[in-house]
Amino acid sequence: MTGRFRLPEGGRVDRGRRISFTFDGKAYHGLGGDTLASALLANGVHLTGRSFKYHRPRGIMTAGPEEPNALIQLEPGAHTQPNTRATVIELYENLAAASQNNWPSLENDVGEVNNLLGRFFPAGFYYKTFMWPGKAWHFYEYIIRRAAGLGRVPETPDPDRYERIYAHCDVLVVGGGPAGLAAALAAGRAGARVILADEQNELGGALLADKVAIDGKPAMQWVGATVAALQKMDNVRLFGRTTAFGYYDHNYLGLLERVTDHLGPQPAGVGEELPRQRLWKVRAKQVVLAAGAIERPLVFADNDRPGVMLAGAARTYLNRYGVKPGRRAVIFTNNDSAYSAALDLKAAGVQVTVADLRHDAGQHGVSLDAMGAGIEVLAEHAIVETQGRKRVNSVKVARINPAGDALAGGTRRIECDVVCMSGGWNPTVHLFSQSAGKLRFDEAIAAFVPDKAAQAVAAAGACNGAFDLAGCLREGDAAGIDAAAATGFKAKGRAPNKPKAETRAESPIRPLWLVPGLKPVGQGGKHFVDFQNDATAADVQLAARESFISVEHLKRYTTTGMGTDQGKTSNVNALGILARARQEDIPAVGTTTFRPPYTPVTFGAIAGRDIGALADPVRTTPMHRWHVNAGAEFEDVGQWKRPFYYPRAGEGMRDAVNREVLAVRDSVGILDATTLGKIDIQGPDAAEFLNWVYVNGWKTLKPGRCRYGLMLHEDGMIFDDGVTACLGENHYLMHTTTSGAANVLAWLEEWLQTEWPHLKVFCTTVTEQFAVANIAGPNASRLLKELGPDLDLDPKTFPHMSVQHGPVAGIPARVFRVSFTGEASYEINVPSSYGMALWRALITAGEKYAITPFGTEALHVLRAEKGYIMVGQDTDGTMTPADAGFGRMVSTKKDFLGRRSLSRADMQKPDRKQLVGLLTDDPKEVLPEGAHVVEQFKEQPPMPHLGHVTSSYWSPTIGRSIALAVVRGGFERKGSKLQVALRDRGVPVTVTDTVFVDPEGKRLHG
């Protein structure tokens, strides 16, 4: 047996496949094809959860993704998934499900005390209290947070992986019911590239639970034939278990395919070729939305007891899963659709009574059929009370008045174990609304339907308000033909026969948004609107009374529609009640915006493979492996990994850096400078162009010579610097900072293309084309001469700031004599593939000089000793060239980018922050970077400050600390005493020039 409530036959379950599972630790059995919900119902289990606020016992209400109640913590451990709807979990062997939000157990939940006190917790009560004593909110919040939330977050990293993939198509059809299949068939036959996405495990949509006929045969036969036809078309792709969750601009949709969820947790090593879920990012030329409709509950007193479910859901459990939801049913409806459930239940042996809000119920149409089948139909009757704590056991029905706001007769008690309600159907307009399409309220079905489309999209079938099968088939077919035609595909040949289905005239719905109870609303019995968040009709009325009369206010004040179901069953009912409270029509009250996703989407699927090592690309130089082997510590600079320092055994960072610095000053050091940006600039107007982008002049630079340049944004602030070399006539190589390289190239290209297209200049990034080893120090030239005997290294003919070509270690190289250390230094550029060879050659040949690799930290000390700025550390986007001490470098003979900004009023002020040196009175004291400079330290802040320390190091060269700082009016303060504020004291400092080592430049030029 797979449950006492399983019918002996029927349904689409696989009776040959018996599946064991547990719920809250108790073992049950289900069948292949079951959902967790259907399997539980087959075992007579309705109570599956507790509501958010009142902890009321709740049962399975729906048979789809709109489920507000039956939320499950699926699986323990690393595979756990919180808040999963039992109605969409496909049953698999050994599935382990647990209820949520209860303590100590689902059956006996202490939190239910909230229900008894519910009177004191109306909508928004927390805005009105918890304010005393002042600032005590954190205390109340602590208590409230203990009760918050539903499921639990996993405690270990996710063992599964996820994929993202792009797809393009002419026509995307969302929904695989009759309308969607008809649309896909029509578009596919016309030759369009079609993707059909359906969220269920089987195509067929509502037909999976129906007993209707198409072309005189069971509808599922038509579904089978249609699916077979679609599968044969090369231009059609069918995606099952795939939910279209987001509709973005320009017909871009997000689809979530659940690839292995239905198989349950996969043991490690098994199925690794398949991701758990796959995010499809689809660009469709046309979209057909055939997403069906979602049934509305009726809002009556205590309409939330386990056993109260939607009529359509009851029918789905019966017809699709072969499960009787109960033995005695009361059907409560305001429309004809619930009679299908009544008839099917009756046929399955369930005792059925129908309470129909409409006065003519039982007089014609399907309700007359029901009477004929022996079903009691109570016209103009409502359920006015329900009983049963963990399962409904009886209801009271009564006649209600024509206005629908009061009882018009005595009550009658009916024993029952299931209540099937239908308040009408809402077309699933979520995606249409997300696409920015406008909705319209259709009085005939009392629901919102798509109106004016904002993108290339059409709705068809129930999604468009056509609830009859014939209408679905007709609209789907037409939408498919139109969509294909709009993308240039016209059906050829004779039109195939259109499927036919019978349509029966329906009696009109009686929208009654709030069903009166035995007591006034809010004074006994709760009329639930939003089941998950426990928002009631009384809450909606209270909100309206308190001025929260817009839909957005209502949602936020009452939390209606804010649960994990995003109001799929509650929004329109809330709107109806609000409209009545405002004494207006629903269209006047408006509708809420539907926001993506349609159903919740796993974080992991959205992140895809862009996690871990792939979160961001790692850039390494051709010499990277050498650095690793040498034990370098690395620093992230943008995406690059740069050696930070090379500690020897037993060495700390400071020791290593001091050693590296001294090695450069005393003999020779070697730095991997590959990461510096390199832009090759060529063309007859190249010098003119450089004149525009740098503050200084470039037209006099001769081939073979280099010049340092500062680049400003148009606001006059330094944004990059570097040395540019003239390699030949009309040919330059620009160096940029490591992290500025991409921005500088983009900046150059932008100006060339948009402002100066007449300049004949080409810019090419060659950063990765060249590997660069920088050797620096008094022995650098000797070392270079050994490896490059053909090079002319005479300081007279190859002085500082020049470049030449020639082989180094047999490798064709460009050698720049430039320096960021203050030592004579050579940047040897070779094709990247030779980078490691060059490096090894230098290291080997340099052994006799004790050549020392140095990292970025030693480089920073070396450059700070010389007072060279580091853009981004000593500047921060607010410094002009003058502020940084480059005032005299700025050309007065030309215009350049940023120049006009330098003459603005505030740029002239003498109290701007200017870059200066600081020397502490105590030479051993190294100032912390970021510390602020003050005239007078105060024990207690606030204290006025003048600026901050931008760079600060121990200088092993001069055996004392050094610092650079930006200080208000700093140039004028040179020689004066200031203080640097630490936490507990002010450190006395003297303002100095920025150059601490070799101010004459003897080392540099030597």
Binding site: R119, F120, Y126, K128, M131, W132, W137, H138, E141, I144, R146, A148, G149, L150, G151, R152, P154, T156, P157, Y162, Y248, Y252, A436, G522, L542, R545, E546, S547, H553, R556, Y557, Q566, R595, F603, A607, D610, I611, G612, A615, V618, E635, D636, G638, T738, G740, H860, M870, V871, G872, Q873, G877, R904, D906, H932, V934, P941, P944, H945, H948, A981
Partner: protein
């Protein structure tokens, strides 16, 4: 205004909540006001409240084209902090933080300001230097921040991954303990209710269609409900500021961009603070309902669609996974977009304009919500005195001509 308290709650419960007062009136616009505030979000309502409460100007209308609090006030990630870089910013944000502290009592409306701390992470040497500078800058202003080592970060946020082996490891963090989050809607509602009780008319569903300006002097606003006269008009319309500016012939240094945020399904609380990272670019908190609240970067293009694209969300979630691998199986429940108004220096405009009697308060970018009380407070004083409040003086429009920007872009990356 009838006072809210636990006693009023109990009393009303006994009446089945039938007798609660409306929180604010829905008056028809009068023909003239002393001050009109355009924009019924948090900042606009706060401005009106402080005009009435502190400046003695109660003949005030707040004109809102939609529903109050329906713009960025109700669309942000509710983070409140005051750990900016420049003194001028610290001035205004710390002032706001002081006002947040007592706001629930002040308004008799629980805005649920939760001082759970805001933690900024550092992932590289540049970040560490930047945090150090910010710490010191804020300390000079008596605004204390705390530095946390990676181990202290882990102790404070147990769920975080501080492994050195990730792409951008956590190297440290800067914690502002008195920062936190608040209930965003309640801020708008609380200010609206309190302002209304002081006589302010809140006029919803009334769109400004133009200004009447004569000889450079503001005369009033044209609206979808007719002309309303006022010698002073303060515009607090965030993303729509440029549209209003254009109506007055003004060009503003503002660009409006979509900014997206999302919440997860509600989970049992496990994340009791706010963590932000600029380098990995993600910020996370967990609401009192249990939802993870996360913000993405702006969409690059300017736009008024309140929608945004999928890629910023993809980047956001892959960034989140870097720090919180356990989030992988959590699900996005809802995402949405707002329109943020961004100034080139990432600081606001709180300013008089060339039109006498026309004032603008905008350009808050992604920092608007946290500034709400401070912004409204100084703007009310600026309007009332026709002279910038000292804390607003740095945020004048003129700064864009003189060059005295208040640069909060941490744009400059480390070089060499």
């Amino acid at each position: 205004m009838k006072k809210y308290s636990v006693f009023s709650l109990v009393r009303n419960a006994l009446d089945y909540h039938r007798n609660w007062q409306q929180a604010w009136r829905s008056p028809a616009p009068k023909s003239a006001y002393d001050v009109i505030v355009v924009g019924g979000g948090g900042h606009g309502l706060a401005t009106a409240y402080y005009l009435a409460k502190e400046c003695g100007i109660t003949n005030v209308a707040v004109i809102e084209k939609g529903w109050l609090g329906g713009g960025n006030t109700g669309r942000n990630t509710t983070i409140i902090r005051a750990n900016y870089l420049q003194d001028e910013s610290t001035g205004i944000y710390a002032h706001a933080l002081d006002l947040w502290d007592t706001l629930s009592t002040e308004l008799n409306y629980n805005v649920m300001f939760s001082k759970r701390g805001v933690l900024h992470l550092a992932h590289n040497q540049h970040d560490l230097k930047e945090l150090a500078r910010r710490h010191n800058a804020n300390r000079m202003m008596a605004n204390e921040l705390e530095f946390l080592t990676p181990e202290q970060v882990k102790a404070f946020v147990p769920i975080i991954n501080i492994s050195p082996d990730v792409r951008y490891p956590v190297l440290g963090g800067s914690l502002q303990r008195r920062a936190g989050v608040a209930r965003h809607d309640a801020v708008a509602w609380g200010y609206a209710r309190a302002a209304d009780s002081l006589g302010v008319d809140i006029i919803q569903n009334c769109e400004v269609t133009g200004f009447r300006i004569e000889q450079g002097q503001m005369k009033g606003v044209e609206t979808t409900r007719g002309f309303i006269a006022s010698p002073k008009v303060g515009c607090v319309a965030a993303g729509h500021s440029s549209v209003l500016g254009a109506m007055a012939g003004l060009r503003l240094p503002i660009e409006s961009h979509p900014l997206q945020a999302l919440v997860s399904e509600p989970l049992k609380p496990f994340f009791d603070t706010v963590v932000m990272s600029n380098t990995v670019h993600v910020y996370v908190s967990q609401s009192d309902k249990g939802e993870l609240v996360m913000g993405a970067g702006i969409d690059a293009y300017n736009g008024y669609s309140q929608r945004g694209s999928l890629p910023p969300i993809e980047h956001l979630l892959s960034a989140a996974m870097e720090l919180y691998p356990v989030f992988s199986r959590v699900r996005v429940l809802r995402k949405w977009g707002g329109i943020v108004d961004i100034c080139p220096d990432a600081s606001p405009l709180i300013t008089k304009t060339p039109v006498q009697g026309l004032y603008f308060n905008c350009g808050w970018g992604t920092g608007g919500f946290k500034a709400t009380p401070g912004s409204g407070h100084v703007f009310a004083h600026t309007i009332a005195r026709d002279d910038p409040h000292p804390l607003a003086a740095a945020f004048r429009l003129e700064r864009f001509a003189t060059g005295n920007l208040v640069d909060e872009n941490l744009a400059a990356a480390v070089a060499h």
